[in-house]
């Protein structure tokens, strides 16, 4: 392919012929490394916002009805009269918290940052297949983030129908005030977000398929790339369905159609819509929604595979089984969406089918866990902060994964659907795993992103506070849920009037949870400080700080357009030759040719 042209390009920049302007370098950049960093910055901002929102509503849950200066400081007298969060705004905060966490932090932020940064660097390409589309993808993401953020300040409040925005609640501004302007902004923001995600994903797929360097066969790809690749395919197949769900909802809201509405009387007003089905929306939503949790999770698993192998100084155990399970998870994730709908009145037989397919996913997931554990076995583990986070991820993936077995069993789901048990489950398996994976990625590839090192000690402190905080928040939620506490409740003291002992338990646990949440949130200040401080003042990064095999560590520390100054590297082996017997060093980069008589793994 156009290697020659690229080469020339590479040299160009090296000599600094055309000075890049500030705008084309930092703002409308088409360089994948810069775009990755832009995604990261935006996601960090959105993540902080979402975390803050969760602290606001957690205060209400722990101390319902008590005045809080903190709340009135952030929410003012409209949404927190006398320092007590209003009922409607509680739902608004929960909704925007969930939406930002899932879509903006863990989809845009995680895939956007690391697919952009790592795909070209690890497959040995000069840049993404289309730099321009890549730039567009970021700017769409940026616009959608701004819209979502702005929706918090609308007079009638942000969307309040939960992150799943089920109609009719989300379709009727008279049913809840957030379904007015707030929901309109939500829908526009998400539509633009979907466009961003689609453009990005197509770019990733094309790059992985077409721009691999010489010798980089699919079975020599690092598992990160496999994960990003499958993630992108999931995104391309499922996000358009969410878009269609959103478009139909917009039509119901604005054009008087009745896709989702039928026989409704709201606030005394009898509507004429007839024949629509709210369940149609749920099918469409969850056809995206379930793959979405793997869109969030797979990149985190990919990153941690790489990090665990590097820092155990051992090859990842069962490389092919790992690829196989990524593919299996990807495929199965499309045929399990109905497990979110067991109690919607869906045909029970259909329910049985979804039970079966859902429980099948546990098998490839178990394989992944055992392979991680075996990778640690007889390793020589180096505790970089990234390694700590990666091990934390495996733990949360186990702990959150096993409760999925209960929820997938429809007969049991009847008793715990939509309770805090579910909240505990998905926060641990999806939220925490993906967040820990993302942190692992940031610590590990920070030297590649900024050419600087982050502080290790602060990283340690950040990890331990985060892990303890996260378990402290989400573990007790299982018990609250099993006692029957529905989710999305503004105030659990309603229990007092009918079930005293459960009331006491919930109040106790809610306080514990909130205290851990505040500790965990404060712990993130360590990260933010370390991150920004190191960007400007961190010590300079060496060429290959973690003694790693993959190609990105063969590029110069100072970023250049086109990644490699000279020729593109040639790949001779898989990326996991760590501690291979008979080798001098305990790592053999992919660019080192096989020695005479050496077997490829």
């Amino acid at each position: 392919m156009g290697a020659v042209a690229h080469e020339a390009h590479g040299h160009h920049d090296d000599h600094g012929h055309h000075e890049e302007s500030f705008v084309s370098k930092y703002i409308f950049s088409q360089d994948h490394k810069m775009i990755g960093k832009q995604f990261l910055m935006t996601a960090v901002f959105m993540g902080v916002v979402a975390m803050l929102l969760s602290i606001l509503f957690r205060i209400q849950l722990a101390w319902p009805g008590e005045e809080s200066e903190f709340l009135s400081f952030f929410l003012g007298s409209d949404w927190a009269p006398n320092g007590v969060l209003s009922e409607d705004m509680y739902l608004g905060l929960v909704t925007i918290h969930g939406t930002i966490m899932v879509f903006f932090l863990l989809t845009g932020g995680l895939s956007g940052t690391f697919s952009n940064l790592l795909i070209p660097l690890q497959v040995g390409a000069r840049d993404m297949a289309s730099g321009f589309l890549n730039m567009l993808s970021y700017w769409f993401f940026f616009i959608s983030s701004v819209l979502m953020f702005v929706s918090l300040f609308v007079e009638t409040g942000p969307a309040m129908a939960g992150w799943t925005i089920y109609p009719p609640l989300s379709a009727l501004p008279t049913a809840v005030q957030g379904s007015g302007m707030g929901m309109t902004l939500w829908l526009f923001s998400m539509s633009i977000f979907i466009a961003s995600s689609l453009i990005g994903s197509l770019n990733y797929i094309v790059t992985v398929l077409n721009l691999r360097t010489k010798g980089m066969s699919m079975t020599r790809l690092p598992l990160t790339i496999w994960a990003f690749f499958v993630t992108a395919i999931l995104g391309v197949l499922s996000f358009p369905v969410l878009l269609s769900a959103a478009v139909l909802l917009m039509m119901d809201r604005m054009a008087g159609t009745s896709f989702y509405l039928s026989d409704i009387i709201v606030q005394g007003e009898m509507l004429t819509q007839h024949g629509g089905s709210p369940l149609l929306y749920q099918h469409l939503f969850w056809f995206l929604g379930h793959p979405e949790v793997y869109i969030v999770l797979l990149p985190a698993l990919g990153l941690s595979s790489e990090i665990i192998s590097t820092n155990s100084r051992k090859p990842i155990f069962g490389y092919r089984a790992m690829i196989g399970s990524i593919l299996a998870i990807g495929f199965l994730s499309f045929i399990v969406w109905g497990h979110h709908m067991f109690v919607t009145g869906m045909n029970p037989f259909l329910g049985s089918v979804f039970v079966f397919t859902t429980l099948l996913i546990a098998i490839p997931s178990a394989v992944k866990v055992f392979n991680y554990i075996t990778t640690l076995w007889r390793g020589s583990i180096v505790y970089t902060p990234a390694m700590l986070f990666a091990i934390g991820l495996v733990s949360t993936f186990i702990t959150g994964g096993v409760t999925g077995i209960i929820l997938a069993d429809s007969a049991l789901d009847i008793a715990i659907h939509d309770t805090y048990f579910v909240v505990a489950h998905f926060h641990i398996v999806m939220g925490m795993s993906a967040v820990l994976g993302m942190f692992a990625g940031v610590y590990h590839w920070f030297p590649k992103m900024y050419g600087k090192m982050m502080n290790t000690r602060l990283g340690y402190a950040h990890f331990w506070i985060t892990l303890i905080g996260a378990y402290g928040v989400f573990f007790p939620m299982h018990f609250v849920g099993l006692a029957g506490a529905p989710r999305r409740y503004y105030d659990y003291s309603v229990y007092e009037s009918f079930d005293g002992s459960t009331f006491e338990m919930m109040m106790d646990l809610n306080v514990i949870i909130t205290i851990f949440a505040i500790i965990a949130a404060l712990g993130q200040i360590l990260f933010l400080f370390n991150f920004f401080y190191s960007i400007f003042r961190g010590p300079k990064a060496p060429q290959n700080p973690w003694r790693s095999n993959t190609l990105e560590w063969t590029t110069p520390v100072e970023h250049i357009h086109g990644n490699w100054p000279g020729e593109l590297p040639t790949v001779h082996r898989w990326p996991y030759d760590y501690s291979k017997p008979g080798q001098e060093e305990d790592f053999v980069p992919q660019t080192v040719p096989l020695a005479e008589g050496e077997e490829e793994h």
Binding site: L91, A175, L261, G345, I406, G481, V494
Partner: protein, 447 residues
């Protein structure tokens, strides 16, 4: 003031952190320490912390189990719920074993195989046999889980017995009503267009309610005539927004009135009787050991009827009917003794986000024993004998239900009072000779 203080503390904290970093940087420059080279001391420290964290996790879990009951639930109070709990416990045993085992392996390895100078890692890229083992074992365990789970699921979702008592649960922002099928055990027909909050809140369909709806829609307050008059009155001035709203409302009503006339033309009145004997309560009364077939309706948005103690849950979907069957197996009184809490009540809670007061949308559920239930049933169905005063559903909101709201005890007293009052009334009526009928009550559940 407090805000300022907090702000100050945070700013000072960050400055202190920055100073610490300076010192740290200088000292690492002196000792030539690099961030990417992890010292053995740091490695060992983190390895120990891994083990420590494992203990924290395990002990924390066990503490929670001891303190809040093995999995935080009270006993199940329905027949299928007992089976659900059995299965739930089995599944919990399995996953708790897996939880302990795999987390222990993870953290123990993380502790044990920390880098030791001079000990190289073991190059071990794959082992097909081992991988086979941990594919097949989970598959077998899951097969068991699936089979048991589906067996239970099929039973729970199966059709109800023919003689099951039919009750409809009606949901709206932000409350619940129960509609009992009455003596004939057949729920009357309904159509949302017949809703009138004052006289027919559940939109039951009878010749009379259709006529009434047509009349209200045509000439009631804010009816078509009213709206037309207002819109055409040159003396009234509306803002554009309000005028558009009124025009839209008028257009809707004109569409609806056509549908009502069609309904009237088709309605034969044959099914009126089924609706006539239905009665509505705002507390759900159930009888221990009796089979129930619930159907669910929603007036506005999706809600969900969740009765945690009965292990029951079903969404209510506007425009559709959903169903769930169950058989209570413990009375409220028995559960109170079990929980040692005499104010305890079963509860039906809304479990699908539905607006601001979602958290406060619940209905007390009272499970009575056979004798109590029979007495209650008798009272609620008595009027149905006489067609003239049989429109029980029009006595909404059912004051009787309300008095049951607080506790069973006061409810029982109330019931006794009402029973007495009814008896007195009956005697008076008998004396006046207006009501010859009396005596037996039909349709009470077979004992």
């Amino acid at each position: 003031m407090a805000k300022l203080f907090v702000l100050l503390v945070i700013i000072l904290g960050v400055i202190a952190l920055a100073q610490l970093m300076r010192v740290y940087e200088l000292s690492s420059k002196l000792t030539n320490k690099k961030e990417n080279e992890i010292t053995n001391r740091d490695n060992r420290l983190n390895a120990k912390l891994m083990l420590g964290f494992m203990l924290f996790l395990f002990i924390g879990f066990i503490w929670l189990m001891l303190k809040y009951g093995w999995t935080g639930r009270g006993p199940a109070a329905s027949v299928h719920g007992e089976q659900t709990d059995w299965l739930l416990n089995l599944n919990f045993v399995i996953i708790i074993i897996v939880f302990f085992l795999t987390n222990a392996l993870l953290f123990v390895f993380a502790w044990k195989y920390v880098k030791k100078p001079g000990v190289p890692a073991f190059y071990y890229p794959h082992n097909n046999k081992l991988e086979m083992v941990w594919t097949v074992i989970p598959a077998i365990v899951l097969a068991v889980i699936i089979i048991l789970g589906l067996r239970s699921w099929n039973e729970v979702t199966d059709d109800a017995k023919d003689d099951a008592i039919r009750v409809e649960l009606f949901s709206y922002q932000f409350n619940w009503n129960a509609r009992y099928a009455g003596v004939d055990n057949k729920l009357g027909k309904y159509d949302y267009k017949l809703t009138d909050d004052a006289s027919n809140p559940l939109a039951l369909m009878t010749t009379e309610t259709i006529d009434k709806s047509i009349e209200l829609m045509t000439s009631g307050p804010n009816g078509i005539e009213d709206l037309e008059a207002k819109l055409n009155d040159p003396k009234l001035v509306f803002s554009d927004k309000i005028r558009t709203e009124m025009e839209e409302r008028l257009a809707r009503k004109e569409q609806l009135i056509r549908l009502l006339h069609q309904m009237k033309a088709r309605h034969t009145g044959e099914t009126d009787k089924q609706a006539m004997d239905d009665f509505i309560t705002d507390t759900l009364f159930l009888c221990k050991g009796e089979n129930y077939e619930f159907t669910f309706r929603s007036k506005d948005v999706i809600h969900s009827a969740y009765i945690p103690h009965l292990r029951a849950q079903m969404n209510t979907v506007p425009g559709a009917i959903t169903r769930f069957k169950l058989t209570p197996s413990m009375t409220t009184q028995e559960m109170r003794e079990e929980k040692n809490d005499e104010n305890f009540n079963y509860i039906l809670m809304c479990n699908k986000i539905c607006g601001g007061a979602h958290y406060n949308m619940n209905m007390i559920v009272v499970v009575l024993d056979k004798a109590e239930y029979k007495a209650w049933w008798k009272l609620k169905t008595e009027g149905a004998k006489d067609p003239a005063n049989s429109k029980m559903y029009t006595t909404f909101p059912a004051t009787f239900g309300e008095s049951y709201y607080k506790t069973l005890q006061s409810a029982q007293e109330e019931m006794q009072k009402e029973l007495d009052a009814a008896k007195v009334a009956e005697e008076v009526e008998g004396e006046e000779g207006e009501d010859a009928e009396g005596g037996e009550v039909e349709g009470a559940p077979a004992a």
